[in-house]
Symmetry: D2
Subunit: 413 residues, 4 copies
């Protein structure tokens, strides 16, 4: 019989952590004994538990400790974290530590240090006194990669007892039978709260359906009026947006009427050719070629955007980053400062971005395909609020709520 | 070798009929020879074809003739239609004729008579000089049921060469990437055209998601302002609508906020109990219990509604017809006068109604589930325009287009 | 400040009940103080909590007590339950008690009595020493309907700590990216366990897509081999199944090839006419007209089925119950004895049946439409395991797992 | 009034071309007069039409001619095709000709030359006597790009009158209510026909759901047994397949049981690290590290694969091409030789590949998401047969049909 003792502290009942720890131990064929338990008498008081874990073999015990550690349990040890050098680029040492998307602390030289840039399923490397989270893509030969579990603390966010006007209003359940008008209202309130009250940052991750469904004016309005701080998309969103604003079509379909236009499929190619001729989207705006739309507003308002390449791309535009690992790294870098991410009709980008986000970033995913939302949640972005809606109807609603809440003032600003 | 000669007249190229006749003959292992062919030189002129059909066996020939008959081909014969008596209720004579949903004519006493109340997959019975289309449910012992194919003419609608602002704008393809704002605009235009210009009738077929998604005010507005002539629904739509207007909830969820309310699930049962106590929805309106909403407007504006029962029903309300065959017959009867049918988020009712409609009735189906639309089309309602949208976002858009097109005048009317 | 004291007993951490109680109090704007807390030291020991609830007003306190009561909390009182007479059929007394789908006990004459036939969103009536759960549809004038909350205990099922090979393997999350082969294996194991080990009862709830997708042979096999004890369906499943076995088509489509057949749409009507002529499905089997298929096996194996009418029905068959409330009552009655319910491709019947089931009945829902599964869960059938699959591929897999597990012996049995 | 005369030849009724030409002229506000019309008396005889087109303005006439040209109409001219030089890389001359996905011929030096490598929405360049189709991405400064419409002929494929056992069996309609078993049978027959009878080439385009859903053994079997000639996928399919074969998990989920494994998310990263350490997938096979699975079979059977990078990728593997335009060009090059393409659960790759395929390549798309199939068809891949199915159930069915049709012989081969 192997044994180990762990401690749990904080809002452990509230956050469902105590439950999960018990379940995990039993699921993994271990057993436990609660040695000490103090419940916070009031909702602001933390609780505390000391639990003895028992397992048949050392391997089982290790498995259990790995699992409960990710739930926030600490083994009461006093050792520093342990690392091993990577023997090659993107080659990881055996027993490496994989990150969760929760805030994480590492003990270096007897000090607890917050891990920088935390994201899911990554590794942690130590540089001097700093602990930095990196995806395997960015591990270099000689990096000091954390291994084992000693000297590492994970702090899952407490489930807020206080009503949260944003995340409080929806379960994770992906349903098509919600009043989307009231969802739009609440997202609008949250956007205002983040932007106006807290001075926070909002990122939009968007797919080309924004243009096809006629919702691009809404997104352009949001950028123009200061509700967007970063735009992550692919080549297609930019080409369709610019095509729409140069020729009134999207892949040859007249956006105003929904009807195909004769010869309209040329517009797509002309658009690419025009921007290539101009040199970049920015140049096209400065030369007076592009006069409105999502990317026009980005240029005029100086909002950064990253266009990541994909094998579906035509052209692509000079602004599109065709090397996907370069694009991914840039996205990770820029996303650091986001307080809220709104993902609109793009499974590829949503999943990519979802993997990069820490668990405390508020995430909204809007898609007509419930499976797209489910896939995101499946991949661990459990903090996402999913809204099953068609973008062409929903985004105008969101904008009209934003206008109402800001009382028209944004226009003047 | 068996042979038969058929004739095709009208816009047979335009309507794709010539193609389908050729395909059908070959698909069924027959052969053909075009004996005579005159093409209309101009789009208003009809074309004409005389075609010899050849087949190995009499059975194959019969099969081919059955199939091309439904496409509008006539065997140049001069005989009256033939009937046989039903030997029992709902028992059909062998060789009975099954209807298409196209306008159909029957030769009785040497006169061509239009079949009344045509609908798909039904039978035709002769009563004196009248030919009446009936589903098997309504066949009575002794009814004179048409058999064979002599003396029967089917006239599929020509595909309109002239641009149709309504059906012209969408293919049958069910897509989630259309600009729904422009779809809303076109449906609004078509509604105005039918109601204001032609004095036609519009039927709404609606499911309970109209209330859950927060779209019931929009539908109530349409009824209040004279855009709806008939409402077909189930018990649930009425209970949810009335619950919402009595208590502000739908199945206990607060419609304004999308949040569940404590004890709110009682509201559903209270609603049923209250209406039963009042005696009917009409009584509840007259007693001042029900003061707004979809069914309030129906009562006040004297718009007929049929609530068909289902096994999901609680209560049900006194207005709900629990015998499904009684409900079905009433729906068929009322639907006779519809020029346009708009189906909203209800697979069950949409398929039921779709089967009852002749091919010339304009049909729109709005659902977030693309499979619901596909199923309808699969069952033969090929004239349906399908829109993949969430009702809670789409119906307000439709109403706002209707308001714009009527320039606010409807409010005053 | 209003206060009340509640008690919680049992696996309250395990079952997430403690959490939910805390959350509920705060969500409803109350406050709490934990007076006493004993945690079970071992997984088999129950825990205990005594909690003081505080609220600003009496109304808020009532709301909180209503909510925590449904979570299993008991107010330590010693009074009998209170009832009021219904003043008319389907008319409920104010303050009536609405049921959950959990096992419930009522105190009558100082004795705790288990409520019979528990189901969700119903009422409880007292007849002598018995407490019976009834939907509003079945409340008669003079029935003694429970009101308030005194003398009522709800016992939510513990979340099993021991691994459950059936419900343990899936979260509630509706995903299209699960290995359905392994899901089929586990469902097969659970079926075997229920039927062979426990002598339990399995109910199938099925839609017509079972026939369209070519899966009807699989279901027939399951009936033939003793894996089905009750079949709930609509007219369409029976008509399509019989059409398939009389003519090889389903709504005129050749099931073997997926191709439409000429004149095949007549088969649907002929089928109805033939069964009506025979008098019933049973008669058709006895007269040798119907020789195989789902309903043939039901007749031969004496498995009861209920065909509930809907407005989509043609005919209907003499076996179909056209009055929906009659059908619903029969379904409730028969379902009493089910240990497992498998719902296949029918939103209407699944939701209807889901509402009738107590929380301890194992439920599986298989549908290609993830929204159908979500809707069911939305309506409270949280115990359902949802599988996104096309029936035509999945059911044969399930049968082949059943064959393997029974080692071919079922054939001989 | 502007006029022009066009000719149509071939199976113009059969292929629906005559219809479409008439519709197009009227839709674009032109008018027409049929000058001459000869119908083929027998199904093998071509038909012929000479049609005068009239339009108000030169612009309208140009629009009409552009549109009918793409339908196969020829203006009876005797001039060579006209080109203009591209003034920069990816910069197109005004009035450039955009390709359809149909076989196309260009008149160079009075000779009609077939366009090489035809694909949709591309340009045509002339190199000596050759005409080559290229996407805008590959246009180089100085390339002779075709402009206008003279000297260009498009030949849409005739709709086969003879029953086609493959494409004949399904309409374009995306339905979830088809017998997928019979679809599997027909696809298997078509695969056998292409591989065994014609010595043709089959390409698989696959997404990672193949592994998640447990279908990877089926695909591996198809490769092992010679039914696959090219595999197009992303980094994720390879990583998941290799993870599964090294550790039995897919993203940490145990494929055999569908349950998550503790610490299993490390396997994903270990897999990448292991292959990077080995140098390539091929090296990993040769070193005995990778011993089965999809990519093992590709290496052993020497089947080429292309892994195109995306921003979702972890690692990526050394085999993955991170520059999307490089990957796209390789895919276009390899796809040249495909006779059939089967797309499985990958929207991104399916749309990318769909755009590259000529209209005569048989295409099957299998996805649980009907919208994925619709999107593909929306983007012009109208020749695709769509099957709504879950891969985990469907692919084993397809394999079992292939085994049956080859009578077990493939194993021995």
């Amino acid at each position: 019989m192997e044994i180990a003792e762990i401690e749990l502290k904080g809002h452990i009942i509230d956050s469902d952590i105590l439950n999960k720890v018990f379940d995990t131990i039993i699921d993994l064929n271990g057993d436990f004994d609660v040695k000490e338990f103090k419940i916070g008498k009031h909702k602001k008081d933390p609780s505390y538990a000391r639990i003895l874990i028992m397992a048949e073999t050392k391997e089982v015990l290790e498995d259990i400790l790995t699992a409960v550690h990710d739930l926030g349990a600490v083994v009461p040890e006093i050792y520093d974290a342990v690392w091993e050098e990577a023997i090659g680029d993107k080659i990881v040492p055996g027993g490496f530590y994989t990150t969760t998307n929760h805030p994480t602390f590492v003990r270096i030289n007897k000090q607890w240090v917050a891990v920088e840039n935390i994201g899911m399923d990554c590794l942690i490397i130590i540089e001097g006194d700093r602990a930095i989270c990196k995806p395997i893509d960015e591990i270099k030969r000689g990096d000091r990669v954390l291994v084992g579990r000693t000297g590492i603390k994970v702090v899952p966010p407490p489930r807020p007892r206080e009503k949260n006007p944003f995340f409080g209003f929806m379960t994770n359940q992906v349903s098509s039978e919600r009043p989307n008008l009231s969802s739009a209202k609440k997202i609008a309130q949250e956007i205002i709260k983040i932007k106006k009250d807290k001075g926070g940052k909002i990122t939009i991750v968007g797919g080309p359906a924004i243009v096809h469904t006629g919702a691009s004016d809404s997104l352009a309005w949001m950028i123009e009026n200061g509700f967007v701080d970063l735009l992550l998309a692919g080549n297609a969103l930019a080409v369709h947006d610019i095509e729409k604003n140069l020729y009134g079509t999207s892949l040859g379909m007249d956006i105003a009427t929904g009807e195909p236009t004769i010869g309209g499929n040329k517009n797509h190619i002309y658009t690419i050719s025009e921007i290539i001729k101009a040199g970049s989207i920015k140049n096209a705006v400065e030369k007076g070629i592009l006069k409105k739309g999502i990317f026009y507003e980005c240029i005029v308002k100086d909002i950064p955007f990253i266009l990541a390449g994909s094998i579906r791309d035509d052209g692509p535009l000079p602004d599109t980053i065709t090397d996907t690992m370069v694009a991914k790294k840039m996205m990770r870098e820029k996303l650091k400062y986001s307080d809220m991410v709104i993902m609109i009709s793009t499974m590829l980008h949503s999943i990519a971005v979802g993997n990069m986000l820490p668990s405390f970033v508020e995430t909204v995913i809007i898609d007509i395909n419930p499976l797209a939302i489910t896939k995101l949640v499946d991949r661990g972005s459990a903090q996402a609020v999913g809204i099953v809606a068609d973008i062409g109807s929903f985004l105008p609603l969101l904008v009209s709520e934003l206008k109402e809440l800001t009382d028209g003032r944004v226009r003047e600003g």
